[in-house]
């Protein structure tokens, strides 16, 4: 219990440091005193304070939102599928949201951001149901390789449809390529605001359901003996994962591997207890996305690299190294 409390404090501290970095570092470095000033007592005549309050605050909020959502979604997904390689991005859920948005952009169904969000939810939900139905059920459900391949295959199918639409429609391509790169800069904070309660409610619901999900993860017989309604809890978890992944995708574009790496690290620190894992993953995910965003701001001056690209690059390497460390039996 004590270690868990320490880890939780550590995760919160990591997030605070990440937020400070995210507010201070960028094309123009701003010292922390000025940042503090901009937050508590804004002086509109100081351009540095305006940068913080106009640009970097919204960027940090969006990053935290997406990171927390993805961290929790990954932890839920891994517990549901009993599979260490489960990640909403890897399993094609983000790609489903992307495809839905591209279809909406191209048909002119959804021009504003507010209309794109529900469409992203629908796309993510369909992809989640599909990948779960084909890859994560039945006798061999625990084999990491199968679920990973099923996800990659589904992703490549969805992306080839997305590409096909983008190729005949250059206007959509121009809007979409910024969106797809996973960037925290393209959105207005006001647009993203409605997503915050969705994510918070979903995380709270995940915490409430976590004990029962733990029982399901023990095996169907054990869960039944403990009086858990297995079908209901699975359905609830899939809905929550969809909500979280789609909200993150709508806010920041498809970000991959955060849902994989964060719960993996968190599990090493807090053990298998799902409620603690969810809390630590939420804070850790938020911190990781912000740090990746800061890295993307500084590595290629004067330009920036979208956070989705940074996380895919770093996360892909982590994934490969995880595979390297696994014993043959576990695969």
């Amino acid at each position: 219990m004590r270690t868990r409390a320490l880890v939780a404090i550590g995760a919160v501290a990591a997030l605070v440091i990440a937020v400070a970095l995210s507010l201070a570092i960028g094309a123009r470095s701003i010292d922390l005193g000025t940042v503090w000033q901009a937050l508590v007592d804004l002086d509109p005549s100081d351009p540095e304070q305006l940068i913080v309050s106009d640009l970097r605050v919204s960027r940090s909020v969006i990053g935290m939102l997406a990171g927390a959502a993805l961290g929790v979604a990954g932890a839920l997904m891994q517990s549901l599928t009993r599979n260490p390689f489960a990640d909403p991005g890897l399993l094609g859920i983000n790609a489903g949201a992307s495809l839905a948005v591209v279809v909406a952009l191209s048909t002119g169904l959804a021009t504003g951001f507010a209309a794109q969000v529900p469409i992203a939810f629908v796309g993510a939900g369909l992809a989640a149901i599909l990948v779960y139905a084909i890859g994560a059920r039945g006798a061999a459900a625990g084999a990491p390789v199968r679920l990973a391949l099923a996800g990659v295959a589904l992703t490549s199918l969805i992306s080839s449809i997305t590409y096909a639409i983008l190729m005949v429609d250059e206007a959509t391509l121009d809007q979409y390529r910024m969106w797809v790169a996973g960037s925290l800069t393209g959105r207005d904070l006001d647009d993203v605001m409605p997503l915050i309660p969705i994510v918070l409610v979903a995380i709270a619901a995940a915490l409430i359901a976590s004990r029962q999900l733990e029982a399901v993860a023990l095996g169907e017989d054990a869960a039944r003996a403990l009086g858990v309604n297995i079908g209901a809890i699975r359905a609830v978890v899939i809905v929550l994962v969809t909500l979280l992944a789609a909200a993150a995708t709508a806010a920041a574009g498809p970000i991959i591997f955060v849902g994989l790496a964060v719960p993996h690290l968190a599990r090493a620190l807090v053990g298998a207890s799902l409620p603690s894992l969810l809390v630590v993953s939420a804070f850790g995910g938020a911190a990781l996305v912000l740090v990746c965003d800061v890295i993307g701001r500084v590595v290629a001056p004067p330009g920036e690299i979208g956070v989705g690209i940074t996380t895919a690059f770093i996360g892909g390497l982590i994934f490969a190294l995880m595979a390297r460390r696994m014993k043959v039996v576990e695969l």
Partner: protein, 343 residues
């Protein structure tokens, strides 16, 4: 059992495999003739055959068949063969029907190499892009091998490492796409879906040379490949030098996939589907390379015919259509495996 002999080379084959192979060859020939004769302007079969072998049939026909349709169809056939063989080797080596160069990072590496070349060097010639693709694929496979090497290669670990590296390469690709201007980005996306449109005789020659060099090496090692399917220990006991044979075959598979990607862009799903269909048609117990090659050629040529038959507003690259063929099969494969069948 029956033994095919061509000079000093002999291939043992089952009667059914032989019959299925002949049938596929016939279907391929029929489809090729159809591809020569049909299109925006239709020609008689006799004329199109003449045009294909270089006998003059009057000026527009000469150009349409000799310079447009024939190289396009032959590129489709040869690239289909390369993909089919590459996938068959990989699936046999990893003992996993889901393994294919499109999913374990090799095609992504080739794509990243090509897009980086497009961005840094520009779209000066298709050959420069192709060189970038081959370099990207080779580098990626080297990286995958290094990452999955722990006292030898375990296939499953290689697949997972490949998936991870594949995402790294996609990140590189996307970064390049956000930095290009939008017209180039459109070109790059088009290349990334895969297309055989506008291929010339030079492309056909390049494919033919690669197949001519690599296929004998692959066929020479077919015995080792079949034996290794029984497990490393059994193969060693039967006198196969497992690490050397696996290395050679994996290298051939990567080169074939990289060559295919270099010529047409990464056309998805052929390498996944062709070997599996070939296996079911021949009812062989183990890997069947030549039927896989023929099946790959058939699938790609057929998909390209469908792509060409679409109305003018829907002219999409052939990669979209191979995905339409491959995806349902893939879904079924994973679904069946998750029902408790063999992986």
């Amino acid at each position: 059992m029956r033994i095919l002999r061509i000079g000093p080379l002999g291939i043992t084959t089952h009667r059914r495999t032989f019959a299925v192979g002949l049938l596929m060859l016939a279907a391929l020939a029929a489809l090729l003739v159809y591809a020569m004769a049909h299109g925006q302007s239709n020609l008689t079969i006799l004329d199109s055959l003449k045009g294909m072998v270089g006998i003059s049939i009057g000026s527009p026909g000469d150009f349409i068949v000799g310079q447009v349709r024939a190289p396009r169809a032959l590129t489709a056939i040869l690239v289909g063969m390369m993909l089919g063989v590459s996938g068959a080797i990989l699936q046999s080596l990893t003992r996993n029907p889901l393994a294919s160069p499109d999913f374990i990072g090799i095609s992504m590496g080739a794509g990243a190499g090509a897009v980086l070349t497009l961005w840094l060097v520009g779209a000066s010639s298709l050959w420069v892009t192709a060189a970038g693709a081959v370099a990207g694929a080779l580098l990626t496979s080297a990286l995958i091998l290094i990452l999955s090497w722990r006292r030898g290669i375990v296939p499953l670990r290689m697949i997972l490492a490949g998936i991870g590296i594949g995402f790294v390469m996609q990140a590189v690709t996307q970064y390049a796409i956000t930095r290009m201007d939008v017209h180039d980005a459109g070109n790059a996306l088009g290349w990334l879906v895969g297309s055989v449109t506008g291929r010339t005789w030079t492309h056909v020659e390049a494919c033919a040379v690669m197949l001519a060099v690599l296929m004998p090496i692959v066929l020479w090692n077919t015995g080792a490949l079949r034996t290794m399917e029984m497990g490393d220990d059994a193969a060693r006991a039967l006198g196969v030098r497992v690490t050397a044979a696996r290395g050679t075959l994996a290298a051939c598979s990567v080169l074939l996939a990289a060559g295919a990607v270099a010529v047409t862009g990464p056309i998805g799903f052929i390498a996944l589907v062709a070997p599996a269909i070939a296996l079911r048609l021949t009812r062989n117990a183990g890997v069947t390379l030549i039927p896989s090659a023929l099946m790959g050629a058939l699938l790609l040529l057929a998909s390209d015919q469908v792509a060409q038959a679409m109305p003018a507003t829907l002219q999409l690259p052939v990669g979209v259509f191979t995905a339409a063929v491959g995806a349902p099969y893939l879904m079924w494969l994973v679904w069946r495996a998750s029902r408790g069948g063999q992986s």
